[in-house]
Structures are given as C-alpha cells and as structure tokens.
C-alpha cells in the first residue's frame, strides 16, 4: 500500500531560480493495482516515481509505505526498503556492464545476503519466466534492447518485491518488442498480484492498465479507473 500525502518536491530551494516540480501530490495505490502514470514531458512523472521508489525524498509531505513512514529513515534503511519491496525497470535498462544476465539478476539477492545456490536458482527461474533462459551467460552488450529490458524485469523481480516501478520501460523499444514487454508486466500483475506503477507516453499501453493517473506541471489533473479493464479483470 502506497500512501502519498501533500508531497511537494522543489529544486534549488531558497534560490531565485527555485523550481517546484511536484505540487501537493496526494496519491494512494492499493496492493496489486496496475497503475499507469501519463503526462507531458517535464510534468514530474519520473520525480514522483523516484519518491515512490524511495530513491528520492520529498521536500515536504509524507510517504507511508505499507504503514511505515519513510521520511525519517537513513540512507541504508532506504536501501533495504528498495531491496526488499521495490523493483525498478528503467527506460535505459541500466544493466551492470560486463556482468552476465544471470549475475545481473542475482544482484538484488546478493545485496539481500542470499546464498549462492539460492541466488542462482532464483535468477535462472526468473530468466526463464521472461523468456531469456537461453541467454543467461550473455553480457549486456551481447543483448538486444528488448532482451536487455527482459533481463531488467527479471532483475526487478529477483527479491519478490511487492511493487514494480517502470519508468518508460518500452520507450527505447519498437512497438512489437514494447508489446512483448508490456505482456510480461500484465502477466506479473495478473499472476503474482504485484503492484505495478508504469510511466508511459504510449496511450495504448496506458489503456491496458487498471488505473490512469495524469500529471501536468506537477499536479495530478486526472486519476480514473479504467472501465474497460475493470470489467476484464473480474
């Protein structure tokens, strides 16, 4: 359960060029929901998602994750939260270079302190799940964009987090490959009941999610349930 209340994010605080990127955002996302966040470029989508992902702190306002307020937490405590509860998928994939697909997927497990055997088994299973079972020992530079993103999704799932945050995961992919990646997200949401927050510029993808949040200039200007999908889910 994600509960964000009155969150404001400012840059250059106290300086003449002070910039308010998020203006009094209130957003609550229940477990298992597939939410898409849309809006113009520079509207603050990524900023909001970094706050949800505990990578960034709001200038003011509160963020309570699963009943735990995060504002007082230390860097290392936030690392632990990210490690256990959140999986990130980036537009630019962000796989660790010169590290095999398998080792990339093992990384969150490594930071959690899992043993070698467990890591290997889980990473292999997840790579199979995203259809990358035959590319496990490939280096990132030996993979196509779609393949990289699938490895990244497997990595985001490694610690079995409750929330997956994807910032334009299909932005760097062609329509066909984008659809494939989207299908994986839908499958994860349906089968593993994971909360997914997807930032996208693609209305077609947004239409496939349960709820669509629209940002404009740091404000939520629209937040509605997707009627089509609600019917489909039940």
């Amino acid at each position: 359960m994600i509960e964000i209340s009155n969150v404001i994010k400012k840059y250059y605080v106290g300086m003449p060029n002070e910039l308010t990127v998020l203006k009094d955002i209130c957003l609550s996302i229940p477990e298992g929901q597939f939410v898409s966040v849309v809006g113009a470029s520079g509207s603050g989508k990524s900023t909001l998602m970094n706050i949800i992902g505990a990578l960034d702190r709001p200038t003011s306002g509160t963020y309570v994750l699963d009943g735990v307020p995060l504002q007082e937490m230390t860097e290392n405590q936030l690392s632990e939260i990210r490690n256990k509860k959140i999986g990130f998928v980036f537009q630019t994939f962000n796989l660790i270079p010169r590290t095999t697909a398998l080792n990339n997927v093992e990384l969150p497990l490594f930071y959690m302190g899992a043993g070698k055997g467990e890591r290997r088994k889980k990473a292999e299973r997840l790579l199979e799940l995203v259809g990358m079972g035959d590319r496990m020992t490939h280096m990132p530079n030996e993979l196509s964009g779609g393949q990289k993103q699938r490895v990244a999704i497997a990595r985001a799932l490694a610690n079995d987090p409750a929330i997956i945050l994807a910032d334009e995961p299909t932005g760097a992919l062609d329509t066909q490959t984008g659809k494939l990646v989207m299908d994986i997200f839908l499958q994860i949401n349906r089968e593993e009941r994971k909360t997914i927050v997807l930032i996208t510029h693609n209305p077609e993808l947004a239409e496939q999610t349960e709820r669509i949040v629209t940002l404009s200039d740091g404000n939520i200007v629209s937040d509605h349930m997707n009627k089509k999908m609600e019917g489909a889910r039940v």
Binding site: N76, F88, F90, N94, I96, T99, L107, F110, Y111
Partner: protein, 447 residues
C-alpha cells in the same frame, strides 16, 4: 560475500586490462625497487663482510701515532681497508700509512717511541689467555723476480712466523718461515704458486730452488722454503693483466731489517683468541694497556684497532645507506599508490550510473565502498606480487654478480605484499568513499 566481491573486482579489472596493468605498473616499480634494493643491500653487506673477514676478524692492529692527532681520518683509521688495495694476503700491509703520513707534521717517531720486541713479550705475558700470536710485517717494496726471459712481479715483506696466524694463507708446499730463519737472518722466502708457475718450468719442485730478486739497484738471492696459494682479491681492482699481477713474497723480518736503523715496529698485529665479543672487549683492554705504556711519552701513543669493531661501524654505515635508498624507493611506491587512487577516482566517475543502479537495487553504502576498496587492493596486491618476483630476481642476479649469498628476506617479502595491499586500501578508501556517498538519483541521472 568477500570472495564474491573479489571475483567481482577481478571481473571488473579484466574488463579494463590495459588500465589495470598501467596502474599496477606504478606499484610493480615501487615494490620491485624496494625489494631489489633490500636484497642487493643485504648482498653487499654480506659481500663486504666476507671480504673483510678474509683478513681475519681476530686480528687487532696496534700502531703508533701522534697523540695530538685527534681528528683521525677514516682512511688511516682502517688499516685493513688500506690494505685492500694491496695484493692479496697483505693483511695490515697498509697499516704503516698513519705513521708515515704524519698529518703535515714532519717529525717521525724515534726508534724508542715504537713497539719493541720487549714490549711484545710483556704484552704476551700480560694477556696469556688472549694473545694467540703477534704478527709483524716490514714492507720491503716492489721488486721483480727474474730468470732469463721469465719474470714475476712481487711485493716483498719481512714477516715473523706468527704472521701466518693473522693471515688465512694456504701453504701448498714446504713450510712457512720459522724462528730459526728469524734467528739466523736466513735468506729464505715463501712465494706464491703464481710466481712458481711464472719462473719455473712446470713439474719443477720449487722447494730449495733459488730465485733472484731484482730491486732498483741490487739483486738479492733467496731460497724458497714454502709456496702459498695466490688468491686474487675480489675487492682488488685489477688494472694490470693477470699475468703481471703482483704477488707477495715473504722473508724473515729479521733479514729484512738487516742494516736498518729502525729496529722496532710502528705497527703490530695481535692475533686474539676467542669469539667476536671477546675480541671486541680485548681490543678495549689492550687500548688501556698501551695508553698506560705510553703514559710518559708526550708525543707518541698507540692506537688499538680491531677489524671486528671497525666491521661493526662499517656495517652501521652500510645499513644506514641501505635504509636511505630503500626509503627513496618507498617514495616510488607512494607515487604508485597515488596512481591507484587516481585510477579509482576515474573508475568511480566512469561507473556513476552503475553505482546508482546498484543503490536502486538495494546496495548499501558499505557494499559500494567494499567493492571499490577490493578493486584497489587487488590491483596493488597483484602489482605487489609481480614486484616481489621481479625485485627478488633483480636482487638475486646482482647478488650473484657481487658473488654474495642470495638472501631472500621472507619478512620483507611478506611485508611488501601486505604493504602494497595496504596502499591499495589506503589510496582506494577515498574514491570508494566518494562512490558510496553518491546520491542514488544523481548517480542514475549522470550522463
């Protein structure tokens, strides 16, 4: 976890082989020079020790010098070293220098100021348990032994039978000079095997053969009573061909002093009994004894010097030199360490996004820190090991060239590995800390 970090670090280093290698080079050069210098230094001290010990560490020199001559310089103070430049076996041969030199003062000691046979006998009586013998020498000068076309360069010295004790001369045939030769002023000589080979056809028994010694304006005839083995001193810089090398020819000191006005000795070599520490303490005792003997002499006194005490001070000097050079080599190690730091800083900047990603995946600060420190430690550790191998090799080769025993110090070797890894940790700490403190968002946004 540690092991996996090590594997991770090795993988990341392998991805940048050239850079890792160049960084290592700094450490390699630093460690190589430290190890090589320490090894060579050890070999040199051992070599000096060997060379000086060949003159006999039980020899204590007593020589007469002016009492006012306080600022006694080292060239005169170490007759053994003075002797090094002379042909092999000439122990104490250079010892006359301090007296003859006289520090700008033209006065020479009277015969009564010198050490007499009587004083030597008293010394023996005073220290019966310490004195093994008293070697006497009287340098006669260079000459040439000729027989028709054949010749051999020699340096003639008058010696007494005890001289054999002070010198580790190896008598091959016949005998050394004895008391009877002394008492009867015999014209007998002990010569080198080299001289024998030069003068006599091979197969000739040299004992009882006569040789003609050509001096500047006289010719003297001696009968050979013994032959010793000539050994070229490694410390001797040979400017002449092996053929023309001068060897020593020993005659009775009484014979050599026939007709001389000076009957007493400006220098004697007391051969002491016992081990090194007893030699050192006997040196002190003997100095006190001679100070007492020369108490009433206002101008002249005796100076007692043992190789053992001099060896100690030479070793002290050599060790300080060794330390100073090793320190300078250590500076190159420092430069290597700074190279490691530099590369780690570059690496951190280059991998900013990677660090951001790792943090997003849940890496804590110490995970990042540990990763970079491990990398730095591995670079310097591998560099250190290569440096040890190279340094030991260089050191061993130079030791062999110096004809000194190759001594590989386990302590220095082990210390160097730990030290170089320590350098990695020390110089890797700052970049690693910088990496660990990166803000995850800023790191992820880094272009």
């Amino acid at each position: 976890m540690i092991w996996e970090n090590v594997l991770l670090a090795i993988a990341s280093l392998r991805a940048n082989k050239m850079r890792a290698l160049l960084t290592m080079l700094g450490i390699i050069i630093g460690i190589t020079s430290v190890i090589a210098i320490v090894t060579i230094g050890n070999a040199m001290t051992a070599s000096v020790n060997n060379n000086l010990s060949s003159f006999g560490t039980n020899n204590i020199t007593v020589f007469i010098r002016e009492k006012s001559q306080n600022n006694f310089n080292i060239a005169g103070g170490i007759p053994f070293l003075g002797g090094v430049a002379r042909p092999a076996g000439g122990a104490g041969g250079g010892g006359r220098q301090p007296v003859v030199r006289g520090s700008g003062n033209t006065s020479r000691p009277e015969d009564s100021d010198l050490i007499s046979d009587e004083m030597i006998n008293q010394l023996k009586a005073e220290f019966p348990n310490n004195v093994a013998g008293v070697a006497l020498t009287n340098s006669v000068g260079s000459a040439t032994v000729k027989d028709g076309e054949k010749y051999a360069n020699i340096s003639a010295s008058g010696t007494n039978p005890d001289y054999l004790l002070s010198n580790n001369m190896n008598i091959l045939e016949g005998r050394y000079l004895n008391q009877s030769d002394m008492d009867n002023y015999r014209n007998v000589a002990v010569v080198s095997d080299k001289l024998v080979n030069s003068i006599f056809p091979s197969g000739t028994d040299p004992i009882s053969q006569q040789i003609k010694v050509y001096k500047t304006n006289t010719i003297e005839i001696y009968t050979i009573v013994g032959v010793y083995k000539y050994e070229a001193s490694s410390a001797q810089v040979s400017t002449v061909s092996e053929e023309d090398a001068t060897t020593n020819l020993y005659i009775p000191i009484t014979t050599s002093k026939l007709g001389a006005t000076q009957k007493n000795y400006s220098q004697i070599t007391v051969v002491a009994k016992g081990d090194s520490s007893s030699v050192v303490s006997f040196t002190t005792q003997m100095q006190a004894y001679f100070d007492d003997v020369y108490r009433t002499n206002t101008v002249w006194g005796a100076r007692v010097n043992s190789l053992e005490t001099q060896l100690n001070s030479i070793m002290d000097v050599l060790n300080s030199i060794k330390l100073a050079i090793a320190f300078i080599a250590g500076i190159s190690l420092l430069v290597g360490g700074i190279g490691v730091m530099n590369i780690m800083l570059v690496s951190v900047t280059e991998r900013t996004r990677e660090i951001g990603t790792r943090k997003a995946l849940g890496a804590k600060n110490f995970h990042i820190q540990f990763q970079f420190i491990t990398e730095a430690a591995i670079i310097s550790g591998i560099g250190g090991i290569i440096g040890i191998i190279l340094g030991t090799t260089v050191g061993a080769i130079v030791s062999v060239v110096l004809k000194a025993p190759v001594t590989v110090s386990i302590l220095v070797t082990l210390g160097s590995v730990l030290f170089s890894m320590g350098i990695g940790v020390f110089f890797g700490y700052y970049p690693a800390n910088k990496a660990a403190k990166l803000d995850p968002i800023e790191a992820l946004r880094y272009e």
